[in-house]
C-alpha cells in the first residue's frame, strides 16, 4: 500500500510539474502583459510549485518507510537491504542505490523549486515565472526518467524471504550524510540553471537579477563543498588506502560542478556589484548544473568504469543522454540566440578587482576543462580502439600548478579596488604576504625541503603567503563593523590556505611502513612506538571481524587502537576498518591486513602530519559560504523591513 501511495504521489508530482510548465510557458507566451498581470501569473504558478515539492517529498518518505520496515515485497528493498541491517543503514540504504538516489534527486529538485516559489522576492515577476517554468521543465525530464526506466516502487512477486544486503563499503555513518548533502549541492545548482534560462527568456540580466540569484548559488555551493569534504574523508578512512582523493570518475563528477559553481559565485558577485560579466555569468550558471548532469550521466550509464558504479545499464544511459541533449543543448542554443540581445554590462580597467576575478574564473574554468578531459580521455581513446586509464599523475601535475597560480590571484583579488586600482599600490599591499611566502620557503629549505617534491614545497610556501594574504582585508578595519560577508570571504579564503597546507604536508611528510608482526611484537615509526598486544575475533550487528589491539605511545601519551578486518556475509565482502588516532599535528593511520602462514599479520602504518587540515580547511570554506549567505541576506531582510516601514509611514 505504501509503495502504491509513493508511486501515485510521484506520478502526481510529475503531472504538477507539467502543469507548472504549461502555466508558466503559456502565460509568458500569450504576449506582452502588464507587470501586474505577470504578478497574477506568478501567484498562479507559485502554489503549483509548492504542491509539487510537497508531493515528491511524500513519495520519498514512502520509500524511506519501506526501507525502514524492510518490506521485501518491493524489489528495490529486496535488492539493497537486509532485515538484519542496523536501523541507520536501512535509513541510509534508501539512497544507497540507483533508483532511490534518483528519487532523492527529484525530491531536492522539487523542494528547490518550491523554495524559489515561496522565498524569492527580489526577482522581476516575469523572470520569476520563467525560472519556475524552467525548473519544472528540468524536473519533468527526471520524473520521466524515474517513472519509465527506474521505478523505485516496483513490486517483487513473490516477495523475497530476505534482502541481498547493502554493499558493506556503504555501511558507514558517512553514507547517511554524504549523498544528501552532495545531492542538495548538485541539484541546488539547477536553480541557478533555471535562473539563467529565465533571465535569457525574459532578457533580464542585470545587477538586480544577480543579487536575486546569488543566495541560491551560495547555498548550493555550501552543500556541495560539505558533500565533497565528507566524501573525501569517507574515502580516506573507509577504503583503507591512506589517500584522500583518487581522481575517480565519481569524485571528478562532484568536483566539476564545484569548480563551475565556485567560478559562478565570483562572477555573480561581479555582476551584482559592478553590473559587468553578464554573458559570462549566465554561461557559468548553465555550465554548473550541466556539469552535475554530465557527471550523473558518466557515473550512471556505465560509459566509464568506476569503483563507485551502481548497477549500470546502457538503456538508462541513453535516457540520461537524451535529457542532457534536451536541457544542456537547449540552454546553450538559447544562450547563443539570446545573449547577444542582452545589453552589454559595464566595462572595467585591466588593473581592478574585476580583472582579478576574471583571472580566477578563467583558471577555474581551465582546471574544469583539465578534469573533464582527463575524465573523458579513456572514452576518447576507446573510440580509437585503445583502452587507457588516466590517473593521479596527470591530474596532479596539471591541476596542481594551476591551482597554485589561482591561489595567488585569490590573495590579490580582495586587496584590489573595484573598477580601477594602481599596480604600485596593490603591489604594496601584497608585500607582506609575499615576504611571508618567501620566509616560509626559506625555512622549509633550511629544514630539508630539497627532499620534498617541488609541488609540495611550493604548496606549503604558497599556503603560508595565502594564509596571511587572506586575512589582510581585515587589516586597518574596525573588526566589529566589518560586514559579515567580508568575514565570510576571509574565512573561506583562509580555508583554502589551510586545506592547501594539509595537502602539501600530507604529500611531503607522510611516513609509511608496511610490516608483518606477530602479537607481542613492537615497532617504531615516525616517533611512535606501537605494541601489537593481541588479535582476536569480534562480532558486530551484521558483521564479524578480526580485531587487533595495539598500544601506541608517543611522548607521554598512551592509547589503545583497534584496526579491524571486517567480514560481511550479506553480500560476502571484506572491508578493512582503519584505526585512526588524531593528534593536533596529524593522524596515525593503521590498517590490519592479512595473516601470513607463519602466523604474523600484515600491518600498514602511516603517520600523516597535518593531514586533517585538508578537511578542516574544506569545512572553513563551507563556513565562509554560510557567513556570506547570512551576511548578505540579513542585509536584504533589514532593507526590506525598513522599506515596508517607510511605506507604512508614507501611507
Amino acid at each position: 500500500m505504501i509503495a502504491e501511495l509513493g508511486l501515485a504521489a510521484l506520478w502526481m508530482s510529475a503531472a504538477l510539474a507539467a502543469l507548472q510548465l504549461v502555466l508558466a510557458g503559456g502565460g509568458l507566451w500569450s504576449g506582452k502583459k502588464a507587470v501586474a498581470e505577470k504578478g497574477a501569473l506568478l501567484s498562479g504558478v507559485r502554489p503549483v510549485a509548492v504542491a509539487q515539492g510537497a508531493l515528491v517529498t511524500l513519495s520519498f518518505l514512502c520509500l524511506l518507510l519501506l526501507f525502514l520496515r524492510s518490506d521485501m515485497s518491493v524489489a528495490l528493498v529486496a535488492l539493497n537491504s537486509h532485515s538484519a541491517k542496523p536501523l541507520l543503514y536501512k535509513f541510509a540504504g534508501t539512497w544507497g542505490n540507483h533508483e532511490g538516489s534518483m528519487l532523492l534527486w527529484v525530491m531536492v529538485m522539487g523542494l528547490a523549486g518550491a523554495a524559489v516559489a515561496l522565498f524569492e522576492r527580489a526577482l522581476r515577476h516575469d523572470t520569476h515565472v520563467a525560472t519556475l517554468g524552467a525548473q519544472a521543465a528540468i524536473s519533468l525530464g527526471f520524473y520521466a526518467f524515474l517513472l519509465f526506466s527506474s521505478n523505485p516502487f516496483a513490486r517483487l512477486n513473490p516477495a523475497a524471504p530476505d534482502g541481498q544486503g547493502l554493499n558493506p563499503l556503504l555501511q558507514d555513518p558517512g553514507l547517511a550524510f554524504h549523498p544528501p548533502t552532495l545531492y542538495i549541492g548538485y541539484v541546488g545548482l539547477s536553480v541557478a540553471f533555471s535562473f539563467a534560462v529565465g533571465a535569457l527568456l525574459t532578457r533580464n540580466v542585470d545587477a538586480v537579477f544577480a543579487r536575486a540569484m546569488r543566495p541560491w548559488v551560495l547555498a548550493a555551493w555550501v552543500m556541495l563543498t560539505i558533500g565533497i569534504v565528507a566524501g573525501s574523508y569517507w574515502a580516506y578512512y573507509e577504503l583503507g588506502w591512506g589517500g584522500w582523493w583518487f581522481w575517480d570518475p565519481v569524485e571528478n563528477a562532484s568536483l566539476m560542478p564545484w569548480l563551475a559553481a565556485t567560478a559562478l559565485l565570483h562572477s555573480v558577485t561581479v555582476l551584482a556589484t559592478r553590473d559587468a560579466l553578464r554573458a559570462w555569468t549566465i554561461m557559468l550558471a548553465v555550465i554548473a548544473f550541466s556539469m552535475s548532469m554530465v557527471g550523473t550521466f558518466l557515473v550512471r550509464s556505465g560509459i566509464l568504469t568506476s569503483v563507485h558504479a551502481f548497477a549500470v545499464d546502457p538503456q538508462r544511459g541513453s535516457f540520461i543522454l537524451a535529457l542532457l541533449l534536451i536541457y544542456i543543448g537547449g540552454a546553450l542554443a538559447l544562450f547563443g540566440a539570446r545573449v547577444g540581445t542582452v545589453r552589454e554590462g559595464s566595462q572595467f580597467e585591466p588593473m581592478s578587482r574585476e580583472s582579478l576575478l576574471v583571472i580566477n574564473n578563467l583558471l577555474l574554468t581551465v582546471i574544469l576543462g583539465v578534469v573533464l578531459i582527463g575524465t573523458l580521455y579513456p572514452l576518447m581513446t576507446e573510440a580509437f580502439g585503445h583502452q587507457v586509464s588516466v590517473g593521479p599523475p596527470y591530474f596532479d601535475r596539471i591541476t596542481g600548478p594551476l591551482a597554485l597560480i589561482m591561489m595567488l590571484a585569490m590573495v590579490a583579488g580582495p586587496l584590489t579596488r573595484w573598477r580601477k586600482d594602481k599596480v604600485g599600490v596593490v603591489a604594496g599591499r601584497l608585500l607582506w604576504p609575499l615576504l611571508i611566502m618567501i620566509a616560509t620557503g626559506a625555512v622549509l629549505f633550511v629544514l630539508g625541503g630539497e627532499r620534498m617534491s617541488i609541488l609540495s614545497f611550493l604548496g606549503l610556501m604558497v599556503a603560508g603567503g595565502v594564509a596571511l594574504g587572506s586575512i589582510a582585508p581585515l587589516f586597518k578595519r574596525n573588526l566589529r563593523r566589518t560586514p559579515l560577508f567580508v568575514w565570510g570571504m576571509v574565512v573561506a579564503h583562509l580555508g583554502c590556505a589551510v586545506s592547501l597546507a594539509g595537502m602539501a604536508a600530507d604529500s611531503a611528510f607522510t611516513s609509511e611502513k608496511l610490516i608483518a608482526m606477530a602479537p607481542g611484537e613492537k615497532v617504531e615509526t615516525a616517533g611512535w612506538k606501537l605494541h601489537f598486544d593481541k588479535v582476536g575475533p569480534i562480532a558486530g550487528d551484521n558483521w564479524s571481524a578480526m580485531q587487533a589491539d595495539m598500544t601506541v605511545r608517543r611522548g607521554g601519551s598512551v592509547d589503545i587502537i583497534h584496526p579491524q578486518s571486517r567480514f560481511f556475509s550479506n553480500p560476502p565482502t571484506t572491508t578493512s576498518e582503519a584505526a585512526l588516532l588524531t593528534r593536533w599535528n596529524g593522524q596515525l593511520y593503521v590498517v590490519l591486513g592479512e595473516q601470513l602462514d607463519d602466523g604474523r599479520w600484515q600491518m600498514r602504518i602511516w603517520w600523516k602530519p597535518f593531514v586533517t587540515l585538508i578537511w578542516y580547511g574544506g569545512l572553513m570554506i563551507a563556513l565562509g559560504g554560510v557567513l556570506t549567505l547570512i551576511g548578505r541576506e540579513r542585509r536584504g531582510w533589514a532593507l526590506k523591513l525598513r522599506k515596508s516601514h517607510a511605506q507604512e509611514e508614507w501611507a
Partner: protein
C-alpha cells in the same frame, strides 16, 4: 559582443561532446578487465589429493581433449561457501569441475564438502599456494575454464553468482 559566432561556440563544443557520448554508449568494447592468462597454457602441476574421497589433481588431466573448469577454493573461505550451490549447478549440468584447495588441510576440506556439497571430480591440495601463484590467481575463489589442449580460455575472479552460471555453461559448450 564582438563576434556573434563566439556565442554559439559553447553549443558547438557540447555537440562534439554529445557525439562522443553517443559513440561511447554504442561502443561495446569490453569494460571488464581481461586476464593476461587467457590464451596461455595452464602451468604444469601435480598436487596430492585434497579430500579423502576424490582423486588427486594433475595438470595432464587438462590435455585429454575435454574442456574442464578449475576452481580455486578453500575451506576457510566464506565466499567459497556462498559459491558452492552454483558449482553444484554447473556439475549437475554436466560440466566437469576440479578443485584446488588453497592453504588447507584434508580434514577441513572433507568437512567443508560434507556441509556445502561436493561438485568436484578431482581435488588437489595446494598447501603452500604454489600452484595458485603459478596460475596468477590473486585470491579465492577463482575459476578457470581450460580447453582440451590445456589452454586457459577464461578466468572468473571472485565467487560465481547465480547469474554467471548460464554464461559459464555456454562458454564450456562453445569450447568443445
Amino acid at each position: 559582443m564582438k563576434s556573434r559566432w563566439l556565442l554559439w561556440l559553447p553549443l558547438a563544443l557540447f555537440a562534439g561532446l554529445a557525439v562522443f557520448f553517443i559513440g561511447g554508449l554504442q561502443n561495446d568494447a569490453p569494460r571488464v578487465v581481461t586476464s593476461a592468462l587467457v590464451g596461455k597454457p595452464l602451468p604444469a602441476f601435480n598436487l596430492p589429493a585434497g579430500a579423502s574421497d576424490r582423486p588427486a589433481l594433475d595438470s595432464r588431466e587438462y590435455t585429454k581433449g575435454k574442456p574442464r573448469l578449475l576452481n580455486i577454493f578453500a575451506s576457510w573461505c566464506v565466499p567459497c561457501a556462498a559459491e558452492a550451490p552454483q558449482l553444484m549447478a554447473l556439475a549437475d549440468a554436466g560440466v566437469p569441475v576440479d578443485g584446488i584447495a588453497i592453504r588447507d588441510a584434508r580434514a577441513d576440506v572433507d568437512d567443508f564438502l560434507a556441509r556445502h556439497g561436493n561438485p568436484y571430480a578431482h581435488i588437489g591440495l595446494d598447501a603452500r599456494s604454489q600452484v595458485q601463484i603459478a596460475l596468477g590467481s590473486s585470491g579465492v575463489p577463482e575459476t578457470f575454464l581450460v580447453d582440451g589442449e590445456g589452454r586457459i580460455l577464461h578466468q572468473h575472479i571472485g565467487d560465481i553468482r547465480a547469474e554467471d552460471v548460464p554464461g559459464l555453461i555456454a562458454k564450456w559448450k562453445a569450447a568443445q
